[in-house]
Symmetry: C2
Subunit: 390 residues, 2 copies
């Protein structure tokens, strides 16, 4: 594993918790290729109960990682879902065994384009193209290795929500409850377009070197920063940007008539770009965005979304945010409708907020209370007590 992160992070990679599947357990990919060896980096929180019925799998989003409830020891970044996962939180780690694994193709310990290929060199573009279904198959290998047959709940936002839907569609008997949040069952043309802008920005950077930048000791930081900036705009609503920044100037009383960050929103966006490049691998960004582009659950299951869930014994709660224009609330509502059409027990909760797509990551009390209600009701149906590890 050759991590593609900033040099100061590289030596810390052996501190990650991982499991490796060898040549006897290749991962069969949607493309028909086989990936081996496969390392999955993951974190767990809480205790697995005696009958192994209290496991919650949290799936992370495009640029997330497995450190959802504690700081990432490599990057020093705080936990990304501390309001949702932890002692006494909606997903209570006194009660549930919570698992989160770095996604296939990622760059926080799970095998991805920055990992060493069998020849010892980084894969780069030799890494096979992956899909959301592949990400879920890899997670399923981890879950089996942990000795868990049925997950109590699979939950995630954005790409994490796609993985949650894919879990329920691919393994209908192994998911008791499922909470897809701010997600889509098919990636839209507009979203493909935004990701293509990001990929072109990365590939336009001469330091990308056709994907072989690690061997050259460089990274396409400028291109990756631009990609991150473009994507970041889609994660926030127009209203939130107006509320937070409007046209306020940054550290000045008058415009510069130049190309400095005159406006606070520019400064904020530049910071989003530059702080991202130290913790994320550009090729991982290419591969994961491509997997998201390819996500079309209905097409994968013969054309109808209801068809994807025809065997579902899972209970669902789908969450949408009113100001999310990356994965609009209407699309999340459609998912719930398809689930109901498939005969599944499903509800849809729309949270009225101006915080846009990223609302699931920030303080949003109505989301937290609705999620708590869904988790608690499902736990009661599953016969899980309120006691620790119950």
């Amino acid at each position: 594993m050759i991590p593609a992160l900033a040099p100061n992070l590289r030596t810390a990679f052996d501190r990650l918790r991982t499991i490796t599947f060898g040549a006897d357990q290749p991962l069969l990919l949607s493309s028909g290729q086989r990936l081996s060896p496969l390392t999955i980096a993951y974190e767990t929180y809480g205790e697995l109960n005696a009958d192994r019925s209290n496991a919650v799998l949290v799936c992370h989003a495009l640029t997330g990682d497995q450190f959802l409830a504690a700081p990432n020891p490599l990057t020093g970044r705080p936990a990304w879902w501390p309001r949702i996962v932890g002692p006494g939180k909606p997903i209570d780690t006194n009660r549930f065994f919570v698992i989160c694994s770095n996604v296939l193709g990622g760059c926080m310990g799970t095998t991805g384009p920055a990992s060493a290929a069998p020849d010892g060199q980084p894969y780069g573009l030799r890494f096979p193209g992956v899909t959301v279904a592949d990400m879920v198959r890899a997670q399923a290998m981890l879950i089996e290795a942990l000795g868990i047959d049925t997950l109590f709940c699979v939950i995630g936002g954005s790409l994490g929500g796609m993985q949650a839907l894919q879990w329920a569609a691919a393994y209908p008997k192994r998911v008791f409850a499922c909470a897809p949040i701010a997600t889509a069952a098919r990636h839209s043309a507009q979203n493909i377009a935004f990701y293509e802008v990001g990929r072109q920005a990365i590939m336009a950077d001469p330091d990308w070197r056709a994907g072989d930048y690690l061997q050259a000791g460089v990274r396409p930081s400028k291109g990756l920063a631009v990609a991150r900036m473009a994507a970041h705009i889609t994660y926030l609503s127009e209203q939130a940007l107006r509320r937070k920044f409007d046209r306020a100037l940054q550290d000045r009383t008058a415009v510069s008539f130049g190309f400095d960050a005159d406006f606070q929103v520019e400064s904020y966006l530049r910071h989003q770009g530059t702080s991202f490049v130290d913790r994320f691998d550009a090729n991982s960004y290419l591969y994961i965005t491509r997997a998201i582009d390819y996500f079309d659950l209905a097409a994968d299951f013969g054309g109808g979304l209801a068809q994807a869930f025809k065997d579902a014994a899972t209970r669902f709660c789908v969450f949408g945010f009113s100001s999310d224009w990356h994965y609009p609330a209407a699309g999340n509502k459609e998912i719930a409708r398809a689930l109901i059409a498939a005969g599944a027990e499903a509800s849809y909760v729309e949270i009225d907020t101006d915080k846009g797509h990223d609302a699931f990551l920030v303080e949003e009390p109505h989301f937290e209370s609705a999620l708590t209600g869904f988790i608690d009701a499902a736990a009661a149906a599953r016969g899980l007590s309120l006691a620790a590890g119950g």
Copy 2:
């Protein structure tokens, strides 16, 4: 003038119609700097009538040019507003004298960052920062040089609409009618953010060379293409992208599991990027987007939008498009409200369409008929006959 276009276009620059203001007529800029000499490239269509009362000034958008009703002889691109301007069209060139000038800071003959500075070298980043007010002041010099005191109508979409508003605010007695289309009286934080992504993409391209690429014989084509791609997404609605492309594949029956343009929307967007770089100068893109960022008409006139129009004798018709998320219809409606609050004769027309911001550039029959109605009523009020040149 050293054009920053593709080499095959450069020799044709002397075929442009221009007027140059010398050292005795410097343009005083919003920044306090003076620009001299100033060349303005422009086109006219139709004939000015005897009492010089039938002149229509059309202001172009960010990447437009003066060739609105006939093909651009340099680029070979077709006229950009043929449905609106021409014989028998809503702005009838049998009746009106139509003027369109390349915007200050542009790259189609008007002085901009690719022009030769007094030292003979291209300005590059030595070009002074400009504003929409500066663009309008430059146009006013052209209009005066053409011997026109009062314009019958100033009209434009997007940045063109900002210029139209600025004309009416700055020269309330010299604009009889004004039609701002799909525009904004203040550029939003979200739009500043999108333009900042584009600027960062350009400036990240090593061929940008801190703005001095012309001297080096190169152009930051990759960065400019990424900038164009990011902006282009904002010109189309999500619905239009779905209707035109959805998830259709480009020249293939299955995805490639790679980074080719698998999807039609990717291919379309790449074409938008690559076809743009031959006809547009990267530094012009920086300067014009910055001018748009700075546009805040209310702030320029003491805080209230109505204040900007308190002396307006102009009659207005403001047009918004329902699916425009770049300059949302609501913002256009607000402009009309401010005009009415200022005591101006103003109406607002909202066109129900899925074509997004670019609806004003494509076939939109209700827009065309509403615009015709406004123009004809204003012409009658102005005492312009229906006869040619009347």
